[in-house]
Amino acid sequence: MSHYKIIFAGPVGAGKSTAVSAASDIPPIRTEAVASDEVRELKPNTTVALDYGAMKLADGSTIHLYGTPGQPRFDFMWEILTEGGIALILLIDNSRGDPLKELRFYLGAFSGFIRKTAVAIGVTHTDLRATPRLADFQAELDRAGFGCVPVFEVDARARRDVCLLIEAVLSTIDPLAKA
């Protein structure tokens, strides 16, 4: 049985845990990451918290939802976590720091995965700060050479928002797939 995953990434506080929980059919689990032997050798005493949720599909299969640890110091985990991932949902908090700089950083960190799969951007906390605007995010994506990518305002607490974002990213991978 294949292990299909959708990965949620982004800075601390962007809404990854909340989004995984909103899209999940099971109560989400915050778990210690199972680091591979390779990583254990590299960083022997590191345990990393990550979010896990699951969407149950009509045929009984499961899509696994993973929220990656936000701190860049855990970036060694990202590559392992993204293995077998079908798409990346990148959440950026619009109310704190420099959101466009965060976008740049995470696009860079996940660029290998994105080029193999696809990304959609959820800009969260727009109720707290409206700028930068979605067009500014797209301009940043253009500059970084990612082309036209779904960028939505998302409240990670709203299941509908999170589901629309997932739907969008899948439609960029295979627009011919249809419910």
Partner: protein
């Protein structure tokens, strides 16, 4: 004269087994108190909202039939303040249901009484005396919590399709190579409210003040581009009606004066972009802005903010395709195998927000030919099945939860 008409009642979301039980229940309410009819002919609709789709069915019905009374059953009602919605608590007894029907009768316009089928009020009044021997919940028990149809995705798609006529009209596909038929697929945005709004916004930006748009019945909209907000002084239905036909000089703009402040303060605001999007869809009704080329590739600069805008049918797949490469409108229809009006409506709305453009350089035309003929975008076939199932799941989640605003 106390003759009572037989109410025509439709239901939303019951399977055949529950329907049978429900019919028995209704016959006990009174032999001809009401009859089950199709959705379009009904005087009143009955919806149970305690299942996955309940809220959505309710909203969908309200949108399709804005002035129709609804009887809504719920375990714990009491959230609605819609005067046309009558809530009954489950388990619903005969007396409660007859009382609800009685309330419906009072809500209906008198013309409904013209219909020949009528029955003696006595039959109905006596319904109060019937003991609650068949609580409706027992009958509907096997419906909840699943929606009625054997295939919920099909039911959702059907509903979405029907509600979408507001946004994409119902124009059938035309032969795009027939010049006469082709004329039908274009509209002139500037002749519609869409154009009035565009002009009003340009003016407001120029004078750096909000403006209002009025027709013969007064102010319809206040537009404040500096804050990106629109204030709607009309119901959505009224605004849609105003948007669908050319305005023919009936709409004027004026700048907002200090004396308008109290009226504006009493209105809800929404993002201007969401208004422009809706108004463009309503005007387009599945057509394209005049001058659009069917064979020039479409370039999507930026996705529409589909979490905060109405999602017309197949919008995701169309935008997904345009994110991948160069496709003309003709190729988009062919590649996705969707009705022309879906693609045209979505293009028109994106165009109104400045999100798309057509590229006619020789290089772009060549690239489009390549995209359309050569590589039909395809994930590995095993993924398509998986995607199909995920999308089915997401559609339920999307439609089951009401959109904001």
């Amino acid at each position: 004269m106390t003759a009572q008409t037989t109410l025509r009642l439709c239901h939303s979301g019951m399977d055949s087994r529950s329907l049978y039980a429900f019919e028995i229940f209704l016959s006990r309410v009174g032999p001809r108190a009401c009859e089950i009819t199709g959705e379009e002919a009904a005087d009143v609709a009955f919806i149970d909202i305690d299942n996955d789709l309940g809220t959505y069915l309710l909203e969908g019905h309200r949108l399709l039939y804005p002035s129709r009374p609804l009887i809504v059953s719920a375990q714990s009602p009491g959230h609605g303040d819609d005067p046309l919605t009558i809530e009954v608590t489950k388990p619903v007894g005969l007396a409660a249901f007859s009382a609800a029907l009685e309330q419906v009768r009072r809500l209906l316009p008198p013309t409904t009484g013209d219909r020949p089928r009528s029955l003696d009020a006595a039959a109905l009044e006596s319904a109060d005396d019937i003991p609650d021997e068949m609580p409706i919940e027992a009958l509907l028990g096997h419906v909840a919590p699943r929606p009625a149809s054997a295939d919920p995705v099909a039911l959702l798609r059907q509903l979405e399709e029907r509600m979408s006529t507001f946004y994409v009209g119902s124009m059938p596909d035309v032969n795009l190579d027939d010049p006469a038929a082709r004329a039908a697929i274009f509209y002139a945005p500037e002749l519609f409210l869409q154009g009035e709004i565009a002009r009003a916004l340009a003016h407001a930006r120029e004078i750096q003040r909000p403006v209002r748009l009025e027709d013969r019945s007064g102010t319809a909209l206040f537009l404040d581009p500096r804050h990106g907000l629109a204030y709607q002084a009309r119901s959505t239905n009224a605004l849609r009606a105003l948007s669908q036909l050319p305005t023919r000089g009936t709409v004027n703009m004026a700048r907002v004066e200090a004396r308008d402040a109290p009226q504006v303060a009493g209105l809800d605001s929404r993002p201007l972009e969401a208004l422009e999007w809706d108004v463009a869809l309503w005007a387009s009704r599945g057509r394209l802005p005049r001058g659009t080329d069917l064979d020039h590739p479409v370039r999507l600069h930026c996705w529409p903010n589909l979490t905060r805008l109405a999602v017309p049918p197949e919008a995701m797949r169309i935008a997904g395709l345009w994110s991948r490469g160069s496709f003309s409108l003709r190729d988009t229809v062919r590649t996705l195998e969707v009705p022309q009006r879906y693609v045209f409506a979505f293009y028109s709305a994106c165009h109104a927000l400045g999100l798309v453009e057509q590229i006619a350089t020789p290089a772009a035309l060549a690239a489009a030919r390549l995209d359309a003929t050569g590589s039909t975008p395809a994930a590995a076939p095993p993924m398509r099945g998986l995607f199909k199932r995920i999308l089915g799941k997401l559609l339920g989640a999307r439609l089951g939860e009401a959109a904001p605003g």
